[in-house]
Subunit: 336 residues, 2 copies
């Protein structure tokens, strides 16, 4: 008889939490007991799993000794409140909330730096990076042997679902009101999001950088084990429901061999490269898919030491829930 | 009595042509006779000017000897068919269609390289650069003395109105169909544009670059008289009706003084700098405005030789029609 693992999902009623439950089922993860947990407000509702409705319980009353692996997909504050309790009870922690310091819970993308796990103390505490850092690390990871990357410039076009269900509802509401020529009162965003592009996602520090941009830079360096690469990043919010897209320009010290880059991406796990005649988009390709889509692969217009590409991926799946479940799959190989 | 100038607008029924007529009126341009011209299909309609409806006539029947300045705002093919005739008749040509080679009709942004005009033979043939190149030259122009610009990375988020009225109608139609859960049949764009981001605008060459991206690079070098700067550019189409936005990262050889950059932009004509607490957007700021809005001015997260900023502007106004009328204002100072 094969082994099974008791699993806890904290934040089970959120977009990411629900998707974790769905992906555990899709990938036939060997779940023993499934404990769905949430704050007092959301407790009592239920989430579908393997044809049954699993009741969501209050996280505060949960005995973490009952679970082998806990996914923390509620806010950072929730993770900080309960992760210690999980660890003390011998339960592995997979943090999707950026709630723990990186020294305590390093970021893991199995295809990129999965080997790190063997070096960590148990019970394991690991984290999932932001969707944009995960997607970009998936693309740059297989290219490390091929390119001497000096600098990366990124414009990350984020879907409104990066703000959870509220962001999705708000874009739909704003769009409907505008099409019906009703006055617009922005709620979740600080201004009109429909038919607009917002250049700032979060509150900037005194230097003008927002937390998400700083996080993306440090996560990318961490995941790629390239602490010295320079990264210029601008995160913008676009009126797209699901699917983050990245416009990326990379500088290298030597001429880029585009055919070799394409071959390395084709050989990499989890990447779907789209040929030059076509290009991937969030709606047409990424939504609901596991792969990271890469397109518009090209050198500079007159600079051979420049590599440009476009990445689009489902921010809720590989950007969060799928990566977390893949991390759990690694953990159980080492028997969590 | 002050002098007036007879003006021809070719492509008078298009978005840009109509806006030229409107801006001539707004800016009280000393128009004598106004000749509105278009292809045989559009001839016969009329466009409002100073409270009257001016009839649109067929361009092919027009005697260019009647006009002092002709704005070419129809397609490149139309410009190539009639610009020679205008020049032969002694009429100055302002091309908004990228129809003429740059050696024949250099690009002009009055605030950036207006001094060039004095060196050109008459009758003048000049051109307006693409909206994105115009906007970015407006921002980088005043910074040339301050920064030793080595490289510029740009992601240009283009409004659907860059495809004219058809693009605008198509985004509205697609959005309404999706909100009403009707099946979507893309027309003007090659796929769903509503709630999506398209990574490729135009048909790429064998190296993967699209004409608009190549044009942007060469126009930027030309306008700034910086033939050696490296430019990485990706043009994407976003579901925004009016207003192009640019995410820009600049590399320099020495540390960037952000306060000095801000001061230089504040002193420059045609620029509206938005403070760090706020940021400009196409819908909220740019649409219908003459200024180029700049925001999110900041150095690199840990690179002092990096300057990042965000630009948004009305692609139809300073990006096209307004710039063309300002060029005409320069021409009449030299008495076209």
């Amino acid at each position: 008889m094969s082994q099974s693992f008791d699993i806890a999902v904290i934040g089970a009623t959120g977009t990411v939490g629900e998707t974790i439950v769905q992906i555990l089922e899709e990938r036939d993860f060997p779940v023993g007991e499934l404990y769905l947990l949430a704050s007092a407000e959301s407790a009592g509702s239920s989430v579908a799993y393997r044809g049954k409705n699993v009741r969501v319980r209050e996280v505060d009353a949960f005995d973490f000794g009952k679970a082998k692996i806990a996914f923390f997909a509620a806010g950072a504050a929730v993770t900080r409140s309960y992760a210690m309790r999980a660890t003390a009870a011998g339960c592995a922690v997979i943090d999707l909330s950026a709630g723990l310091p990186v020294e305590q819970a390093p970021n893991l993308v199995p295809e990129v730096n999965g080997a790190l796990l063997a070096t960590l103390p148990r019970p394991w505490q690991v984290a999932c990076a932001s969707p944009a850092a995960t997607a970009l690390a998936m693309v740059l990871g297989p290219l490390r042997g091929l390119l001497d990357v000096q600098r990366v410039s990124i414009t990350a076009c984020l879907a409104v679902s990066s703000l959870g269900r509220e962001g999705v509802t708000e874009l739909a509401r704003q769009t409907a009101e505008l099409l019906n020529v009703r006055p617009l009162e922005p709620r979740v965003f600080d201004r009109q999001m429909a038919f607009n592009v917002l250049a700032q996602v979060g509150t900037p520090d005194a230097q003008g950088h927002v937390p998400l941009e700083k996080r993306l830079v440090s996560e990318l360096r961490e995941l790629l084990s390239l602490p010295l690469i320079k990264v210029a990043v601008t995160c913008i919010q676009v009126p797209v429901f699901f699917g983050d897209s990245l416009s990326v320009s990379v500088q290298t010290t030597t001429a880029v061999n585009i055919a070799a880059v394409a071959a390395a991406l084709d050989a990499a796990d989890g990447i779907d490269r789209v040929d030059a005649e076509d290009y991937p988009t969030p709606v047409g390709d990424a939504v609901g898919q596991d792969a990271i889509y890469v397109g518009r692969l090209r050198a500079g217009i007159d600079d051979a030491c420049e590599l440009n590409f476009w990445v689009t991926s489902d921010n809720v799946r590989k950007g969060a829930a799928l990566n977390a479940v893949q991390v759990a799959e690694l953990l159980i190989k080492g028997v969590a």
